[in-house]
């Protein structure tokens, strides 16, 4: 069994590296295809031919794209992310400042959203088609149907402007204590929780409900086991696989998909950094953030597969 896991991990990691290479190439082509470059983007309205030419010379942008890309790849493979084309800060430093913020936000939201949506999903399956089930579905589905910036503004209007429980903008910095950090990021965390809960909760409910017609559940019922126990100990263990997949997908989204929430709450995270870098056509920063995001996806997908495998005894012990 260990062999099988190891083989899976090794195979996935190799594929993951291929994915990263493909993504770096796609990102490069994408940003190159956008009009203008870092020089014209920085100068904006005040660009002129001689200034742009001087800027190209200074940043060595007069060399072919392929040469620049290969050079970046060689450096990146050695762990050197390069310097931002705009203000020449080390990309590693810029990202280092923000990656912690992004993961803090994602982990905080996940710590609330995952248990809450699992519990609600189980309860909804238990009391399916009841008033409770329907209202929970309605609330969480509204959360996912409304755009996240709208949820953000509503929460801001209620909790920051009207009642002043939490600050309207989350300009956290490294000098803050954990309590201050939690207070400052309460609203973005809440927004993200509302945005991801529905998906996980619905999937938990659906996969449990689909198992409820299985013969072994019938058997358990006939044995007179209480419904709650049936769900938690009989249905849930077999329902884990799709739930885990959805949880991982949402966790990945919490890291890479929160740009708008970051902008609305002025939260210094990676998403806002990437958008900034794309607008400025700052290729090294765009590539580095894209690599981080892609890695998050690859790793979480791998984790999802491993956990699914481990949660399923039939897959763990093949004949």
């Amino acid at each position: 069994m260990e062999n099988q896991l190891l083989r899976l991990v090794a195979g996935r990691l190799a594929l993951g590296i291929l994915t990263l290479v493909a993504i770096s190439l796609l990102i490069t082509i994408g940003v190159e295809a956008l009009s203008g470059d870092v020089c014209t983007a920085m100068m904006g309205q005040m660009a002129s031919e001689d200034k742009v030419a001087a800027c190209h010379r200074a940043l060595h942008l007069d060399r072919p794209v392929l040469v620049r890309y290969l050079e970046w790849m060689v450096n990146f493979a050695q762990g050197d992310m390069g310097q931002a084309l705009t203000n020449h800060r080390d990309v590693a430093d810029v990202i280092g400042n923000r990656i912690g913020n992004t993961f803090f936000l994602a982990v905080s939201a996940a710590l609330i959203a995952v248990p809450v949506s699992l519990i609600l999903g189980v309860l909804a399956a238990l009391y399916r088609n009841s008033f409770f089930d329907r209202s929970i579905s309605m609330i969480t589905l509204s959360g996912v149907s409304v755009p996240d910036f709208f949820i953000a503004y509503i929460l801001m209007a209620i909790f920051a402007v009207s009642y002043g429980f939490f600050p309207a903008i989350s300009n956290i910095d490294e000098t803050m204590t954990l309590a201050q950090r939690i207070n400052a990021s309460a609203l973005p965390v809440l927004t993200l929780t509302l945005a991801v809960s529905a998906h996980m909760m619905r999937m938990t409910r659906a996969s449990i409900v689909s198992l409820m017609a299985s013969p072994y559940i019938e058997m358990a019922k006939l044995k007179g086991i209480r419904p709650g126990r049936i769900i938690v100990f009989h249905a849930l263990p077999n329902a884990w696989s799709p739930i885990i997949q959805v949880i991982m997908l949402n966790l990945a989204w919490l890291v890479v998909g929160v740009v708008i929430v970051e902008v609305v709450f002025v939260y210094p995270g990676l998403g806002a950094l990437m958008i900034d870098a794309v607008f400025l056509r700052d290729m090294p920063t765009v590539r580095a953030t894209a690599m981080i995001f892609a890695t998050v996806y690859v790793v979480l997908n791998l984790l999802a597969d491993i956990l699914s495998l481990m949660s399923n005894p039939r897959l763990m012990h093949p004949k």
Partner: protein, 534 residues
């Protein structure tokens, strides 16, 4: 508090904000029954004395992760405020009255033809690092923007400074190519800040070392900056806060919320939609100062149909300026008269009749051009100015009555300045304005200029531009600039529907000078050094 007390407070607040002057205040206060105490009430509001202390938390927009402390690259409020009003000084600053006054310079003396300027520098001014500021620093700081390899946003301004040489450690001599009576204003450009030069004549801008009121402690581009007072600051009554914490809040709604919830002591550029609500909040003042920023629709006059001045005049009469100011600017602005000189600038042609929305006149001009109706297209994106797409729709609707069919071509805001502006025959645009008429005309209207977005070439205008620049006689100069504004208004290729006011917000706990500068937002981008906590 009685109603009348409340009213007089409101009136005092307007004095503090620079909204009304002494005469208006005393008149209004007398009407309320405060005849005897009116002068004292005025002084209290207008001449509050700065106090030291406190942490100033201020939110700016236009920040990004590519920002740097090199002023050559600065172009929006976060960096301009941090650099110019924060850690550095220029040779000249613009006062609240719009005059160029010496800053790190002590005096500026022109020759009779305004071609040679002798600039004496203040002695004994020290950088944060302890080094004494001298002519070598000044030359290195100015030369930084010039030369073939310069990518500075101030390249053209710096190039117009002519040959710069030093005469002793505290004197600079500028030999201009042609006379320029506005020379001191050039040195007030927010890019032309003074840094400390090493022995090779290079300035390490990233260090943040300057002569300014505050010392940079921490700077995270696109996120925040933390500065502490320079106890050694030389300018009297300035550098009042103990610390300054600048936060980058690019979203206007988020900025306004942060102000409303007390997370900020001041913000730049309120969200105009919600500004009236913010105004009602106690403890917060919305500060409105008329500035030089204006919105424009430049036409390429080399291309048909814009090559015909009758068509241009028809288009200028087909825009409803009042509606423009009321909807796009929500009233926080004033009407434009198809020239770029705002009413608070020197040499503004105040007697020139205000151009109005007049479909009949527009039709008449169209007829002169030989058309009964005309189809044109404007490219617009909100990169040109906030609300540009809606504003252009409004233009299009109003113009229909004149037989002008404007198709609004909504384009991507990303890359707007590279791909659209000055590339298509007609587009939406904005100008932050320049402190002098000469500068504005030179950068935006001079034939063959890099940014002459109408590609206009008018011989009389060109002759006046040269004559006006070197003219030291104020009356003659005024005549020249009035004539130039008239020519641009009636023959130019740019529709200028409005001037936008600077609309900022500040806590009432802050003390501010009686009159605020309008050349940039938040007191000419100098609230950091000029303001204080009451």
């Amino acid at each position: 508090m009685s109603k009348i007390d409340h009213e007089i407070r409101k009136l005092q607040k307007r004095v503090t904000n620079g909204g009304i002057d002494r005469r208006e205040f005393i008149k209004a206060a007398t009407a309320m029954g405060f005849a005897a105490t009116a002068p004292a009430l005025y002084s209290h509001a207008a001449y509050a004395t700065p106090k030291k202390g406190g942490t100033y938390r201020v939110g700016f927009g236009g920040a990004n992760t590519g920002d740097m402390l090199d002023p050559a690259d600065n172009g929006d409020t976060f960096m301009i405020n941090m650099n110019m009003g924060g850690c550095r000084n220029a040779l000249v600053e613009v006062s609240a009255n719009g005059q160029a006054v010496p800053e790190l310079a002590e005096s500026l003396e022109p020759s009779a033809d305004a071609k040679t300027w002798v600039v004496k520098l203040r002695k004994g001014i020290e950088f944060h690092s302890g080094k004494t500021f001298d002519a070598d620093d000044a030359i290195a700081s100015l030369e930084h923007h010039r030369g073939e390899d310069s990518t500075s946003d101030a390249k053209s301004v710096a190039n117009s400074l002519g040959n710069i040489r030093k005469d002793g450690p505290n004197t600079l001599i500028f030999d201009l190519e042609s006379g320029n009576a506005d020379f001191p204003y050039l040195l007030s450009d927010y890019h032309l800040l003074m840094g400390s030069a090493d022995s090779a004549g290079k300035v390490d801008w990233a260090s943040g070392d300057g002569t300014g009121a505050f010392v940079v402690k921490n700077f995270e581009p696109g996120v925040r900056a933390h500065m502490v007072r320079n106890d050694n600051y030389w300018k009297p009554g300035c550098a009042n806060f103990d610390e300054v914490k600048i936060t980058a809040v690019n979203d206007a709604v988020a900025r306004t919320n942060a102000m409303a919830t007390g997370q900020m002591d001041a913000i730049v550029r309120c969200d105009l939609k919600t500004a009236p609500m913010l105004e009602k909040k106690s403890g917060v003042s919305v500060i409105q100062v008329s500035g030089t920023k204006h919105f424009t629709y430049p036409m390429d006059v080399r291309q048909a149909p814009f090559d015909d001045n009758n068509v241009r005049m028809a288009l200028k009469h087909a825009i409803d300026r009042e509606a423009f100011v009321n909807t796009v600017l929500r009233g926080y602005g004033s009407l434009g008269n198809d020239h770029p000189i705002s009413s608070n600038q020197n040499y503004h042609a105040g007697d020139l009749p205000q151009r109005q929305y007049d479909p009949d006149k527009a039709k008449w001009y169209l007829k002169q051009a030989g058309h009964s109706s005309i189809d044109v297209e404007i490219a617009a994106a909100d990169a040109a100015f906030n609300g540009a797409v809606d504003a252009t729709q409004l233009y299009s609707e109003a113009a229909k009555a004149a037989g002008v069919n404007i198709k609004v071509n909504r384009v991507s805001p990303d890359g707007y300045w590279n791909n659209v502006w000055m590339k298509v025959p007609w587009s939406a645009c904005y100008w932050s304005g320049r402190p002098t008429a000469d500068w504005m005309f030179t950068i935006g209207y001079k034939a063959g200029g890099n940014w002459t977005d109408s590609f206009w070439d008018h011989p009389r205008f060109e002759a006046l531009l040269v004559a006006g620049r070197a003219e030291l006689d104020e009356a003659k100069r005024n005549d020249i600039y009035v004539e130039m504004q008239t020519i641009v208004r009636d023959e130019g290729g740019v529709v200028v529907p409005c001037f936008a006011n600077n609309v900022d917000a500040a806590s009432d706990a802050l003390g501010r000078p009686g009159k605020l500068a309008g050349n940039w937002e938040l007191d000419g981008s100098r609230s950091i050094e000029r303001w204080w906590f009451k």
